[in-house]
Point group: C2
Chain length 420, copies 2
């Protein structure tokens, strides 16, 4: 199939071009700067067209992948030139306005479908990612075709109307980003005036919020502004938020009134959201970080996994809140997950304790590692050499755990007995 | 020392009473209901006094541990009765107003110190927790005494003025809670009207924010209302937030203006906060959750660690976004961290591949587990039986990794050679 990607020089356009090219399609891209388009086309080994109309006029599918603020202009420009029976689609984060523009400006015999990939251009593949489709009365066979294509690539597809899409995204995106960016703006004004180092006295909730604020604040301001401005339900979402905050503030002078206001909104939210599950989920995240600190402080043998690639580094680690020291090297703590080489080092089993004796010349620490690796629902607490034997103290749950371990050790050729 | 804890029946008061009792102090508690005080005193094996004044009048230390909204009343009531040379202190989340009340109502020869433990009453111990002290010109030797006591228990102590404390907490608590509770109130109004299941199309940022919102919304409304109402800098913090949100909303009708506003606040925030580090830290949290899903979906052998106790469960796990199935049992996913039995199952080493042959009757999977447990900077990719031998394909970084492994396997009595 011949597929035109208008705005194929942007990060998202390039991702789409690569995927379609890999699937054997004939891809032609355009860009606001024709020289850039030619360079990117060479890099991607696809075609470049000098204008959007040139790219669109003989394509089976035309994908509009330009910034939200120019999407309607580009649609107005190319829609009349899309061939009969072809598909015109866009991939922006809003759907009402682009879909309306496509329906208005494309000839009756051109198919129209709205698409919103719920991921950024840095994903390694489409596997596990979600794509929303907003079919219209003029999507014809293309809804099914696009869905099949995406599902074959491992993506999840959700179908809805352009209106319902934008209403939902007004919460997921407009309201969420407005909260976070306004919080960032306000906090950014306070921080310089504080004398106390806020890191010294920050609560886990403040830290979590600031990490999410910083994550959003670090993105492209234009994209985030356009998501607000071009979603017709954004206004309503921001106004509801303003109203809530204004009420909160008005009540704050009377602690009884504010208590009542908080209790009321909690009750309403609690009908939609399992608040205790929120507590447990955030506790889980904090618990992963607490385990990391424990590993660093107690010198538990660790394996570092790169956050983005899971590439591994092993060795003696120490460190603090910000830094990991691995065999003398300093690494940024936020770049690696810190896991115990053996997760049992962090665990305890609510069971009995016994002692095993193995006749072996191996290092007691290695024997303990083998016990941990082979044993199920048990862990080695301590191991020490006694003459020709290594004694291992074992904590276990259930007799079958212990028996399973003994069988496996003997199958490896080790002489082992239960000492008590 | 004789220590009176006024409000010793509350969760925080009980924690303080237990800690001091364990350290050998003579503890006397009071409560708004004298019967409750007597019952709790029996449970804790400490004394109860019928009134606050009775408890305070012969104490070496008087700790006011009542709700913020009645703290000043209780101070006014008991301060005149605190003995000469004793310490009067409070443990609320605001410091300006309680410290001012203590200085005003306690006789000149009574020592006064503000205290803010930055943790809730559910912590297992004080180890690693932070306590803020706000000494006054009338704290005398008690700042040092309290600091030493807390540090001996493993707590971190930060000293500042009551004003600086409240200014900082206006950001860490007032602004942070206001953002989250207002977001919860607004989102709670939208969710019932959405037809699309928001869970289906939620972004990672929306999920993270909602988990933090739900965590705060699930707490005691009274405490959160009082923290807002009794911090003299709370007003300013909420007003700055309102101003930021109002500006954001006003600009949202013109995407260029909003882009500029977002870029400006980003620049200001970026001077105080490493935005890229925020991205990496949140990516790390998401990566832990992605690893969990991978373990569940790929059937990687797992160990479940209880989020609160690190008590461990092992076995075959499968599951989905909400549920873990362990050997047929269903468990809530938010209650357990899901770690691979061997973290190397998630990892890859950027190195070479070779094949080892071991003469052993053991199960090939167990041999691979032993290789993973003993090898450093290497992992077993595959293991299979070939007659009397088990062949293990190994990915390793650096010759010394491979040699170290061979040494350890031989020390265990295993016959092993490099096959290619």
């Amino acid at each position: 199939m011949r597929i035109a990607i208008l705005g194929g020089t942007g990060a998202m356009g390039r991702l789409i071009a690569r995927e379609l090219r890999d699937d054997g399609h004939e891809v032609v891209i355009t860009g606001s700067n024709p020289h850039t388009a030619e360079r990117v086309a060479r890099e991607l080994d696809v075609e470049a067209a000098p204008t959007n109309v040139d790219a669109a006029k003989d394509a089976d599918v035309v994908v509009v992948s330009v910034p939200i603020s120019v999407t309607e202009d580009v649609i107005r420009e190319v829609a009349p030139h899309v061939p009969e029976g072809s598909l015109l689609t866009d991939v922006t984060s809003v759907k009402v306005r682009p879909v309306r523009a496509m329906l208005e400006h494309a000839p009756e015999d051109v198919y129209v479908l709205g698409t919103h990939p719920l991921f950024g251009p840095t994903v390694p593949s489409l596997r596990g990612q979600t794509v929303i489709l907003t079919p219209t009365e003029r999507s014809g066979p293309w809804t099914r075709r696009v869905r099949r294509y995406l599902e074959r690539k491992g993506a999840r597809v959700v179908e809805t109307t352009p209106e319902e899409h934008d209403r939902t995204m007004a919460v997921v995106q407009c309201l969420t980003h407005a909260v976070l960016l306004a919080a960032g703006a306000a906090i950014g004004r306070f921080l310089p005036s504080l004398e106390l180092d806020i890191e010294e006295v920050a609560s886990p909730v403040y830290r979590l919020l600031m990490d999410v604020v910083g994550r959003i604040a670090g993105q492209d301001p234009r994209l985030y502004a356009e998501i607000q401005a071009f979603n017709p339900y954004g206004d309503e979402a921001r106004e509801e938020l303003l109203r809530a905050l204004r009420r909160f503030h008005e009540h704050a002078h009377d602690h009884n009134a504010l208590t009542e206001y908080i209790a009321e909104s909690r009750e309403r939210l609690g009908r939609e959201l399992d608040l205790e599950a929120c507590q447990r989920r955030t506790d889980k995240l904090l618990s992963y970080l607490a385990d990391e600190l424990r590993i660093l402080q107690e010198g538990i043998e660790a394996i570092l996994l790169d956050v983005y690639t899971n590439e591994a580094l092993e060795g003696e680690v120490t460190g603090d809140r910000d830094t990991i020291r691995l065999d003398g090297r300093e690494l940024p703590r936020d770049r690696y997950k810190i896991l115990p080489r053996c997760p049992k080092e962090l665990a305890h089993f609510d069971g009995e304790v016994t002692v095993l004796e193995l006749r072996t010349g191996a290092d007691p620490g290695d024997v303990a590692a083998v016990v941990d690796a082979l044993g199920r629902n048990l862990r080695a607490l301590r191991a020490e050499r006694r003459g020709e034997r290594v004694r291992v103290e074992v904590e276990y749950t259930g007799k079958e755990s212990l028996e399973g371990l003994l069988r496996k050790l003997r199958a490896l050729g080790l002489e082992v007995r239960v000492a008590r």
